[in-house]
Amino acid sequence: MGLQFYVQNALGGLAYGSLLFLIASGLTLIFGLMRIINLAQTAFYLLGAYVGLTLVAHGTNFWLASVAGGAVTMVLGLAVYSAFLHRYHADHLTSLLLTLGFALILDDGVLAVWGGDPRSIAPPPGLAGSIHIGTLVFPEYWLAVIAISFTIAAVLFFALQRTMLGVMIRASVDDEEMARGLGVDVNRAFFVVFAAGAFIAGLGGLLGGPITSAYPGLDGEITPLAFAVVIVGGMGSLTGALVGSLLIGLVNAFGKAMFPELSYFTIFVPVALIMAFRPQGLFGRKL
Amino acid sequence: MTLRQAQDDMALRQAQDDKVCLRLDGVSKRFGSLSVLDDVSITIRTGERCGIIGPNGAGKSTLFNIIAGELPLSRGSVRFLGNDVTRVSAHTRARRGMARTFQTTTLFPRLTVIENLVLALQAHSAERFTMLVPRSRYRARDHEARALLERVGLGPRADALVDALGYGEKRQIEILLALAQRPKLLLLDEPTAGLAPSDASLVTEMLKREHAGLTMVLIEHDMGVVFDVVERLTVLHYGRVVADGPVEAIRADANVQEIYLGGKV
């Protein structure tokens, strides 16, 4: 196992981790703010991928199609939120059960529209090649995905730390009662966070396509990883989601390469240890 | 300190402990940088009825949660019936004889009144682990619960869901549950909170009538209730004990009137 092995897997792990961040950031923010576990979050990702690949097949620009995938997902997510979820805001179990039902319906809807065959997605022209440095090979698209995810992370951090809305959201996360008392429009904060979570996951769908491709059941495969991220990073923490995503991405890549028979174990044993000894995760507050 | 002195000291403490129900020694609690309780020491003798008063934010509820074992303390110790219980869990303290009520009604809303009381009554008995015998075989428990209800005039509500009770009735059950534990120390967190005067006096009467010799600590805003029920008062202000003594002495204390009673008593 030479340098090539480590660099390759590290890069692959970071790229996959970046994709996980696009899903887990929404998951953790929605949870932190509303105490809702959105079990449909990975279905959002899958929907975004399919919408995006359809647009690309009809000649739309790859990046534009990603954004459109995010937008469609966001609209659908908000429709569900406004029609059903927001009524059960205080009832965490019912909210969870509703997102579960919604994931079920969405999954089957995707299967109905796009069929059961796996769809591979080509990277956008211009990023299909690789950079060679000595014997090392870096697929350009992986680098691009990492860069895009970090940009999105930066925007999220900035929005949370520096904008008025972000301040309101953080206040609501800390103490909803208090925030309401101080006149923060908590419901608007909910709406915005749910929208942002759905949008980013949907956007991630096509962006991740060249790496994960798209097929029914993909969401079910990503769900445990996304939850692993949230457990490791800590529920409700954006920093935790970023660090957790990259960690899980790396462990996933190296685990698969080094212990193919037990790669799942290499991810979930550390997760179990964190659950047992630090249930609030690396960056979270006590649940 | 020599060994002999230490033994004497222990013997002395033991002798004192026989009459002491609860002893707080230098209890402090911080939430982050916020100090909620600062070096609070209170000794409550067996059979004493003590009130803790103080303005909002004085740390009364925090103190209660620490005594009951729901919150860990930052510094100091809690002794109960002669044993150090500082690190003992809430449920173990309850099993050793502490009972408490809550400021916001904390009952079992989707169970019947009887079931609520049975939960309190069977808490110390082996049957709480009985899995394969239906509760219908334990008629005696239900009778015991019903008898308790009759005593406070809630007999007719025995089979209603607690959720369906009126607020005053819920407050009575709140106390009844704690009494059903047959406690050695009863902690009452604002038992009359939110009650109309007529209902409040019902609760006060209940407290005075039941268990005359019971050791009791009462947090209360309603001064009428406090003066009616307790013999001794401790005044908390910004997490510190600022006065402690017989009710009459505290009433007369100018400092207390200044900070809490607004000079109106």
Partner: protein, 325 residues
Amino acid sequence: MSVGRRWIVAAAAGFVVALLLPRLGVPTFYVSLLTQTWIFAIVAMSLDLLVGFTGLVNFSQAALFGVGAYAVAIGATRFHVTAFVPVMALGIVCAMVTAAIFGLVALRSEGVGFIIITIALNEIVWGLAYQWVSVSGGDNGITGIVRPHVGPFDVSENTGYYYVCLLSFAICLVLLLVLVRSPFGLVLKGVRETPRRMRALGYNVWLYRYLAMTISGGFAGVAGVLFAWYNQFVGPVALSLDQSTQILIIVILGGIGTLYGQVFGALVVVFLSNELSAVTQRWEMVLGVIYFAVVMYAPGGLVVLVPRLWNRLLGRRTPVTAEES
């Protein structure tokens, strides 16, 4: 007739009908579906003990179910343990031990934290079954499981096996009904309602949750063992997160905290997934919509909804029962 009497009569009548069904010329295919229904009702009841009576939403129930099933498969193919009683005991013990370990990890958190941790725990076990090929056969699973003899009875054909599952279900239902009506059961309900007050009353809340999880694991194990014999095959799907979700859906459809309602929940899910899939490929969507509607409009489940609809059809007013209010 008192309400209690009426229930006993209804349950007895239902049981007799269930006993007679295979003799009434019901096609083998449906007998087989009903067998599945009993199995899923058992595992759903085991989850209901946690969700409906203890207040723990456990997403790792399929792992316990699956551990029971794999215990049968591995016991039969490697150690030649095939008789009914030893295999059933093995499955129950394995599932209970797994549940006991899960409890140690998951019960460090409450509420939503508990849910997420059980999701991860389920995935660990699934990952083992899926990837540890040398033990579990990986994605191919383990075949060659033979249904046992029960005493002198050969239950290897479908009708005989139907009775095994029906009786197992009846025994589990009775045991669980007694359990939730026992003093211990009342404690569990107290823990579900208000853990804080339970602690103040002197109950070790953690211990009761832990016991409930372990006991529930035993019942899930029973269902898992029956499932392995039913299919004569075990694969990782049996303990997937989807399976956990499906078990939860059965509980929601049937009625949280009813136990017997799980029969109806299981009936709907089993028949939808088998019957409807012959008519339309969109059975999952139909299930999703039904489920969604139940969560929104009939949180008490089908056992509450069906009588209500029936009464409305007959133009009667629905009496408001204690459970609904």
